[in-house]
């Protein structure tokens, strides 16, 4: 009776979505099939390991079997579980049951977190089925406990991130066509994520003790671990914003997560640069990576529709609206450029005093290109009278399209006028070749090219801001 009431109390304390999802998940055929298959695979490998160990006693087989178990577990926890979470969220949207859940007062955040927690609970069940076998591989020699723990911790973080991506993508697709596209996007992302995760697991298994005790690797693992949890948070916030009703101000969560995760990334980059005594080219690499994050996360996690519901009409930066989310992405990109630029400046001053033109240009270009193309994405949607073109999803498509057009058109023009697809002048606005030119090449033409890029970017930002502010006001009046 005591045990029963304790379990009842536990169930009461867990959110209703988690209870429902776990109940549905455990009942689903997909769980039974994959759980059974995982056990069979692990058991078969264990039998093979026992046979090999009996034949060649004293040989270290551990790392091969450790890698094998992680591969089997990774296939389920990096692919199946996140995809099941994605499908579960899509079904909620297709059947419009999420609306009914929202009306109960649960809120988009609870729904999204409930889905994610239940998926992770299922991953934990798979992990616990596999755990005795992973431990068994330790007794086959060749790996140590630090490797096992490192691999499992990183795998958990990776699975958590991929699951949050699955849930987030599902909430961004509101139409039938959008959901079909989302299926392909998720399959592609999870496929790549699974391959990367499994490959990394094999690296840990093969490189063994040497790798996990290496300082650089330890820094990387800590950074990657923290960043993957930060990204998971951002993904869940953005999923909740995607699921929120028009009557709810949903900007707060994603914006806070975007800023905090971004600042953490910058702080980590700064720490690594200072500890490793980085050079200007490292700063440029850092700027490219952080700009990439701010751009992609800006376009996909914090981009918003015009206007805001009436109850959210107060407040400042956390007030919803496309204009504010656009400015936030631009400001974060600028902060990133400022930090890396200052580091290059500091290096220049404290060394020979000669400014590294390529590094400065590269840092500026890595700020200007994403800002320019985010602005173009906004302008493409907002300057037309078609309402659907100004939705966040259309802005994202506009952003990607403008990047593709920018790359292809610049290269074509460069081929015609400069005789090479990598020409310096015609690729001034090319976000791919242009960026490489600014970072990698020298020449006076690049000085005028960076001025042109800066001028066009400023104009595009100004126009995008004007259009966004005007539409925000119209939609909210």
């Amino acid at each position: 009776m005591t045990v029963l009431s304790a379990s009842e109390r536990f169930v009461e304390s867990v959110g209703p979505i988690v209870v429902k999802e776990v109940r549905q998940g455990l009942r689903a055929k997909v769980f039974a099939i994959f759980f059974g298959s995982l056990l069979v695979v692990c058991l078969s490998m264990a039998l093979v390991a026992v046979a090999q160990a009996t034949e060649a006693a004293g040989t270290a087989f551990g790392k091969d079997f450790f890698g094998g178990y992680l591969t089997a577990l990774g296939a389920v926890t990096f692919f199946v579980i996140p995809f099941v979470a994605f499908r579960s969220m899509v079904r909620e949207l297709e059947d419009e049951t999420w609306v009914l859940l929202t009306l109960t007062g649960l809120g988009a955040n609870s729904i999204v977190r409930g889905k994610w927690v239940s998926a992770m609970s299922q991953a934990l069940l798979f992990g616990s089925a596999c755990a005795p076998f992973v431990l068994f591989s330790y007794f086959l020699n060749g790996i140590d406990i630090v490797q096992v723990v490192t691999a499992l911790v990183l795998a958990t973080g990776w699975s958590a991130l991929l699951t949050s991506i699955g849930v987030a993508v599902a909430t961004q697709a509101q139409s039938k066509l959008g959901r079909t596209i989302a299926h392909f996007v998720v399959l592609g992302l999870l496929g790549l994520g699974t391959m990367a995760g499994i490959a990394f697991a094999w690296v840990i298994a093969e490189e063994g003790h040497r790798l996990v005790t290496n300082d650089a690797f330890r820094n990387f693992a800590i950074g990657a671990g923290v960043f993957s949890w930060g990204l998971t948070w951002l993904m869940l916030e953005s999923a909740a914003a995607g699921l929120a009703l028009p009557s709810e101000a949903a900007s707060r969560g994603p914006r806070i997560a975007y800023v905090i995760v971004g600042l953490l990334g910058l702080a980590f980059g700064l720490a690594v640069f200072l500890l490793e005594k980085g050079r200007p080219k490292d700063a440029v690499a850092g700027q490219v990576i952080t700009s990439f994050f701010f751009t992609i996360a800006g376009a996909f996690c914090v981009s918003e529709a015009d206007g805001w519901p009436r109850q959210a009409a107060t407040g400042s930066w956390l007030k919803p609206g496309a204009a504010r989310s656009f400015w936030l992405a631009v400001v974060m990109l600028f902060l990133s450029a400022l930090m890396w630029g200052l580091l290059i400046g500091d290096y220049t001053v404290s060394n020979d005093g000669n400014a590294d033109g390529r590094a400065f240009r590269g840092t500026m270009a890595a700020f200007a290109f994403p800002t320019l193309y985010l602005s173009l994405g906004v302008l493409m949607g907002r300057l037309t009278p078609l309402r659907h073109l100004s939705e966040p999803v259309a802005t994202r498509v506009g952003f990607i399209l403008s990047v593709v057009v920018g790359v292809v058109a610049s290269m074509a023009l460069s081929l015609v006028f400069e005789g090479s697809a990598r020409g310096r002048e015609m690729n001034a606005l090319n976000p791919l070749v242009g960026l490489f030119n600014f970072i990698d090449r020298s020449g006076s033409e690049l000085n005028s090219a960076i001025v042109l890029l800066g001028a066009v970017t400023l104009m595009a930002v100004f126009l995008a801001a004007v259009v966004l502010h005007a539409r925000d006001e119209v939609r909210s009046s």
Binding site: E96, T97, V99, L100, L103, L106, Q311
Partner: protein, 332 residues
């Protein structure tokens, strides 16, 4: 009676499209309001705004005195919304489904169990509690959905096309359930295409088209207003077959006579009965009692021509007529 729900000047734009245009009505507790209108009239948009699922471009909605536009979170516990899609989880039993939503409404322990049992009892779902929702008929699924909306004991129920696709028996049962809910003091806002159904359920009705509220009031008020204002009326008369003349011949003669009369249109013969419509010319303003006057004139002509008429009656004005009358000239 003070209004539980007050909708004031509700307007909703989607881009350039004005989906709802300055709608104002109120709904007291314990009454059922039928929301009538063709597809795309703005019914669902209005209902979604009242259910806090959408936001108006302008206007105000007060539920129990609280603005659900400004504070939707405070209004939600007071309302239950049933969309046209029932939204059940196929792999859950009836009990699990209701229990899950009861948890979501933060009902705990014995209180939750009691509430789920009471809702299953009220909706007649108790014998089906262990059945998967995917195995239920449409009528039963609809009961499950209705049960879900009742779990937190809301004051206002918003039901979007609840009778759609139900068989006659399920419709009658739904009607009885809604009547019982209204008698408990709940206000019910219900939309339907089946206007005869609504007239039997509703105390008040609101006719909406192209985002405009064209008529509102009690069903009787709307009927009497629209029947006086109607530009047409359906009439049915029956003939006596034993008048010494073959029935077919009498019917033909009657049809000829009717067609000669002013205002008579759409004459059709069915065995010993004839149906026709008394209809004013386009643009003519209906004067009070014009139907009665025209009927007397037609009947006089028939009697003078020794047509053996055994019954002559104008069909009673119903919500469908009211709807057609009110929307006349505006239906696209």
């Amino acid at each position: 009676m003070s209004a539980l729900l007050e909708v004031k000047g509700l307007t909703r734009y989607y881009g350039a499209l004005k989906a709802v245009d300055d709608i104002t009505f109120s709904l007291p507790a314990g009454t059922i309001l039928g929301f009538i209108g063709p597809n795309g009239a703005g019914k669902s948009t209005t209902m979604r705004i009242i259910a806090t699922l959408d936001v108006p471009t302008s206007g105000e909605v007060l539920l129990d005195g609280k603005s659900l536009v400004a504070r939707p979170d405070q209004a939600r516990p007071l309302l239950g919304y049933m969309p046209d899609r029932y939204g059940t989880y196929d792999d859950m039993t009836v009990f699990e489904f209701l229990d899950f939503f009861a948890r979501a409404y933060r009902l705990r322990g014995n209180e939750r169990k009691a509430r789920v049992d009471s809702v299953m009892d009220f909706t007649g779902l108790m014998p089906l509690k262990d059945k998967l929702t995917s195995e239920l008929s449409k009528g039963m699924k609809q009961r499950v959905a209705l049960g879900r909306t009742l779990l937190h004991d809301p004051k206002l129920l918003i039901l979007d096309e609840p009778a759609d696709g139900l068989d006659p028996r399920a419709r009658i049962e739904l009607r009885e359930l809604l009547r019982a809910l209204a008698s408990q003091g709940k206000a019910v806002l219900i939309s339907s295409h089946i206007l005869t159904e609504l007239s039997e359920i509703c105390d008040t009705c609101a006719i909406i088209e192209q985002g405009h509220l064209l008529a509102t009031g009690t069903v009787q008020e709307v009927l009497s207003r629209t029947s006086n204002a109607a530009a047409f009326s359906e009439v049915e008369l029956t003939l006596w077959a034993g008048a010494g003349m073959p029935l077919e011949e009498i019917a033909r003669k009657t049809e000829r006579l009717l067609l000669e009369q002013p205002l008579v249109t759409n004459v059709s013969v069915l065995n010993n009965a004839l149906r026709f419509r008394l209809e004013l010319a386009v643009g003519a303003t209906p004067a009070s009692g014009w139907v009665e006057e025209a009927s007397v004139r037609v009947l006089k002509v028939l009697v003078n021509a020794e047509i053996p008429v055994t019954s002559f009656r104008t069909r009673e004005h119903d919500l469908e007529d009211a709807f057609m009358s009110v929307t006349k000239g505006r239906v696209q």
